[in-house]
Amino acid sequence: MIEIRNLSKSFVTSDGPVDALKNVNLTINNGDIYGIIGMSGAGKSTLVRCINMLERPTEGNILLDGRDLGSLNKKELREVRHRVTMIFQGFNLLMQRTCLKNVILPLRLSGVPKAEAEKRGRELLEIVGLPDKANAYPAQLSGGQQQRVAIARALATDPQVLLCDEATSALDPKTTHQILDLIRDINKKLGITVIVITHQMSVVQEICNRVAILEHGAVVEEGEVAQVFADPKADATRHLVYPEMADSVAISDEHGQRVRIIFNGGPAAKTPLIAQMAMEVGVAASILGASTRSVGERAYGYILLEIPGGPDELAKAVNFLRKTPDVTVSVEVNYGENKGVEA
């Protein structure tokens, strides 16, 4: 278990001090695939580097199974770095060394004899699906293959935690998918806790069970991925979950009454909701914006409707929509002077 307690980190730059992280508190349980998501500059990379003390926190603690990593001496910390390993956006393989030599580097650094390390290295290359690339050099491999080698290297010291710093950001969607599959496999089969740093909601959606949203160095939302997707509370989360929503917010400045239907993972998205509403209560809504997606077997997303007519039509529409299971309906009205949002 990793506990991040009151973690703050500030850097001194030429423009004065910058608070990269502000009082971050997170608990990552064993077996989690924990997503930490945020826009660039949100402090994700700093946060993940604090977890293995590549960056020293300015304040606060990182506890690995109750042990405060900040209190360790250099030797103990090196030991911990065998337990908490890392993969990177740029793969960071030694370009002048074969894949096998790259994979066994952490073992060789900790004094494992060459023959034994190479045996283990070949097993690891097998695990990541590259048994035939032992003697190839990284430059001969594709990005996805290089990341597989990096993953094999990260697994060499039998870690309990794998930190992934934008590990798929340099890869195309298909390769991203394959690498995420591999990470999920590793999590399941080897029981390694995974912390995934990313700016892509799709990555979180695909493999994480929990997620924290980081904005300007602070955690603005945290929870089960399904929960956070269903009902994003913080603005930053909404932007990440539904990037298109930014546009619809601009529309709602105009005069009108709007209803936002949020699908919370039910089968609702598959029923002809709007058509039914028109037929059953006679409200012909127009769709201003929509974005839906599936997480696992469940549907999430939203539809933003413009309701014609006055408050009566609005009430009819809302009453109808609220009868649908697994949706949240929120109303945004703007009658000129009385502007407001009602949940």
Binding site: T85, G90, S110, T157
Partner: protein, 235 residues
């Protein structure tokens, strides 16, 4: 005596005689001094260059800034003394080490002293080219600063080091010719003593041609080797 007189049949015959009797050995002396001086320059310059990179404020093992400052000043100082002056300045040291300040072996001392700060700077440059992300990755694996230097930075910069060492050899070879002016042996000495001073200009030119050929050979071998070693260029 003017330039034209240097190519009279008599002078040419004398020159040919010098080339026949002295050139082979002089070439050997030049190579010998160059190779040994380069060896010692690398022996001192390589660790020193590593120290410059590792000990930097942002290096893998930061050392006291004052110490780094002193090191840098010393290296710059040694680099800024003209070689011909340095040779004379280190004569006492040369005598202490070799027993004499004249000859090919003696010239190795000032050559190595002149070249090691240069080599240190070259090594520094090569090591600084190593992708900082790879260094961070090594740290994330729990590598010690020494391990990062020896097992990550050094192997990663091998192609660049080969290029730079090639540059060092050719530069040092240039210096050996200069050492011929103040008692060193080799082609430089032949060119000046037997060629220039006795108006046998043909000897002078022949020496230069041999030096040029050696430099060309070393340079192309070095460049080829650097490319061959670089596993980034394998596709």
């Amino acid at each position: 005596m003017n330039f034209a007189n240097a190519f009279t049949p008599e002078k040419l015959e004398e020159a040919l005689e010098v080339i026949k009797t002295k050139f082979l050995f002089a070439t050997w002396e030049t190579l010998y001094a160059t190779i040994l001086a380069t060896f010692f320059a690398i022996l001192i310059g390589l660790p020193l260059g590593m120290l410059l990179v590792a000990g930097d404020a942002k290096g893998v093992r930061p050392l006291p800034p004052l110490l780094m400052k002193v090191l840098n000043v010393i290296i710059n100082l040694l680099r800024s003394v003209p070689f011909i002056i340095l040779m004379v300045m280190v004569i006492p040291l040369t005598r202490a080490i070799v027993g004499t300040s004249v000859g090919t072996v003696a010239s190795i001392v000032p050559l190595a002293i002149a070249a090691f700060p240069f080599v240190a700077r070259l090594v520094e440059g090569s090591l600084r080219e190593v992708n900082p992300n790879i260094i961070e990755t090594a740290q994330s694996m729990g590598a010690t600063p020494m391990q990062i230097l020896l097992r990550v930075m050094l192997p990663e910069s091998v192609p660049s080091l080969i290029s730079n060492f090639t540059l060092a050899i050719t530069t040092i070879m240039g210096y050996t010719a200069m050492s011929g002016a103040v008692g060193g042996g080799g082609l430089g000495m032949i060119a000046i003593t037997y060629g220039y001073n006795r108006y046998r200009y043909a000897v002078l030119y022949a020496s230069v041609i041999v030096l040029v050929i050696i430099v060309q050979v070393i340079q192309s071998v070095g460049t080829k080797l650097a490319i061959k070693c670089d596993k980034r260029l394998r596709n």
